[in-house]
């Protein structure tokens, strides 16, 4: 879906400082990339395509402008994969506590 409707929960994007305008104290790898910003909110326009400039109303009620980059953006966070390096720790510690492990 690349078309958002008024009131949709969307994400906008802006370049805050382009390369060349970064603060002097940042390391080279940071100076070589722009400072970017994303904010989410409700779309103000009747309709808008991803990639166009839009206005949103943030949760704090502010009107903010930027390029529409996502509609109902994913939170992304999860619990990842079970980690073999961690899975046996509990059993090992119990064994030590119960006198069956090597102290």
């Amino acid at each position: 879906m690349s078309q958002a409707q008024k009131g949709d929960w969307v994400q906008i994007y802006q370049v805050i400082l382009p390369v060349g305008e970064r603060a002097p104290q940042v390391p080279a790898e940071t100076a070589g990339v722009p400072l970017e910003m994303w904010v989410k909110g409700f779309l103000e326009e009747e309709q808008a395509q991803v990639g166009t400039d839009v206005t949103i109303r943030s949760l704090a009620g502010r009107l903010l402008q930027g390029q529409l980059v996502a509609i109902k953006p994913d939170y992304e966070v999860n619990y990842g994969f079970p980690q073999p390096e961690l899975l046996t720790i509990g059993v090992e510690l119990r064994a030590i506590l119960e006198g069956n492990g090597n102290v």
Partner: protein, 471 residues
């Protein structure tokens, strides 16, 4: 409309911050670099009784102090005869928003409301954002949180993404930025555009809110064990946690309790580096903040930092990322408490320290925090592996920040490293003299530096002469 270029906004910083905090910091300054910290705390911050009342109104504090009996038993198995202090933990995850940061936010948000501000703004990638958003929701203020989240590939640190989600859950506008200290520019711009209160982590309001954590630890430890805590271990980053907790303990008469700061060792990783940013698995409680804030506290978003950790820490220790992940599992599996990450940094240090203390002594881990998607060891290690970090069981001495996370094979391999506080004091003095150069200092300056470093005035004078001679 005023000029919103980077240079113009940074140039307006003093007036923007003044309007947004409403504290006259200059009133507490004297000499060249001197500043009367205690007078600022007593005149600007609230009284302990008032803080308790403010926190009671929004359900902050009075968290349980839990004895970690199984972890204590494990430590005693590893310790020599007669050794192995009782380990307690303050379950700060029980605060609204899930961490001790609710204490810090509570007074700031109260103060903002009292002074007619319509909203609060905070620059934080940590638990403080959710704490501010939660307290603001309770008191009917707007909140805006400015976070450093992504590297230039647009990849977000999982823990920070989760904290951003939590802020939104409490109704905050979340401004997500890529890596870089110029986040501060965006923060100033938001303050200027909204006229909201600067709910900084580092005002007297924020720091005094943590003092109740110290007083509660004193009271609860006495009730549970009949003695004052022999040591309190505090996860250390920006220094508010150490400062507020220690001040509270002092107020409660625990002058001889040892205050131990603990940070995850991230030596070698640059905090403003777009590359290093996603090569770490801890976003706070690490040396990347802990060292600079101990040696140069006035680097914050207010002119004078109310968090002055070097005044309060009796000892500063580091542990590795892998050791903290291991202890996080230990806490869940042996004590039935799924918590962390940050609080488990101090637990890891306490687990080692307890083994060197007498069995009738008491060591208190000063906090837990909520865990969840992104914050938990499994997403963090999944993320680390995806970013090319080696993860394996082994001896933690093989740990290399940003390259290898070593999960201990045995609890006996967990160790702490002491940071030499004399060296920290020396770099503190060098930083403090940076702005004066070889200029003469006033008696108030020497008095200030002595309080900051806990050194005799005569020793400070000698060190100052040595440093200035080498400039």
């Amino acid at each position: 409309m005023s000029n919103t270029s980077y240079q113009a906004v940074i140039a307006r910083k003093p007036e923007i911050i003044k309007k947004a905090t409403n504290i006259d910091y200059a009133a507490f300054e004297s000499g060249e670099i001197g500043f009367d910290y205690e007078r600022m705390m007593s005149q600007v911050a609230y009284s302990l009784n008032k803080i308790r009342q403010i926190q009671q109104e929004t359900g902050v504090g009075n968290t349980p102090l839990l004895e970690l009996k199984n972890i204590t038993a494990l430590a005693r198995q590893l310790a020599g005869p007669g050794k192995g202090a009782r380990i307690f933990i303050k379950d700060e995850a029980c605060n609204p928003s899930g961490s001790f940061k609710a204490r810090r936010a509570s007074v700031s948000v109260y103060h903002a409301k009292q002074h007619g501000y319509k909203g609060v703004v905070a620059a934080t990638s940590g638990n403080f954002g959710a704490a501010i958003a939660s307290q603001a929701a309770m008191r009917g203020l707007k909140s805006i949180i400015v976070q450093e989240v992504f590297d230039s590939r647009g990849i977000g640190q999982p823990e920070i993404l989760e904290k951003g989600r939590a802020c939104e859950a409490y109704g905050a506008e979340v401004i997500q930025m890529t890596v870089g200290p110029e986040l501060f520019y965006q923060f100033l711009l938001v303050l200027e555009q909204t006229g909201y209160f600067n709910a900084s982590l580092y005002t007297p309001f924020s720091i005094c809110g943590i003092e109740t954590l110290g007083t509660e630890i004193a009271e609860q430890t006495l009730l549970a064990t009949g003695r004052k805590p022999d040591a309190v271990v505090v996860t250390h980053a920006g220094g508010g946690n150490v400062t507020g907790t220690a001040r509270g303990l002092q107020r409660a008469g625990c002058e001889s309790t040892q205050i131990v700061a603990a940070s995850v060792d991230l030596k070698g990783l640059h905090m403003a580096s777009d590359i290093d940013f996603n090569r770490k698995s801890f976003t706070t409680g690490h040396t990347g903040f802990g060292m600079p804030f101990a040696t140069s506290p006035d680097r914050a978003d207010v002119p004078r930092n109310a968090a002055r950790p070097l005044r309060y820490m009796d000892r500063y220790v580091t542990i590795t990322q892998g050791e903290v992940f291991y202890v996080t599992e230990m806490l869940a599996m042996l004590e039935g408490l799924e918590r962390g990450p940050a609080g488990n940094t101090s637990l890891t240090a306490a687990f080692v320290m307890a083994q060197h203390m007498e069995c009738d002594e008491v060591i208190v881990v000063q906090e837990t925090e909520y865990t969840g998607a992104g914050k938990h060891p499994s997403p963090q290690l999944s993320f680390a592996k995806k970013n090319g970090i080696e993860v394996r069981r082994g001896n933690p001495i093989e740990n290399v920040p940003g390259k290898a996370i070593i999960i201990p094979e045995h609890p006996g391999q967990i160790n702490i490293k002491d940071i030499n506080l004399d060296r920290v004091r020396q770099s503190y003095l060098r930083n403090a003299l940076g702005s004066v150069g070889t200029g003469a200092l006033h008696p108030q300056d020497i008095e200030f530096l002595a309080a900051e470093t806990r050194l005799e005035a005569a020793i400070v004078e000698k060190k100052v002469r040595e440093i200035q001679a080498n400039l």
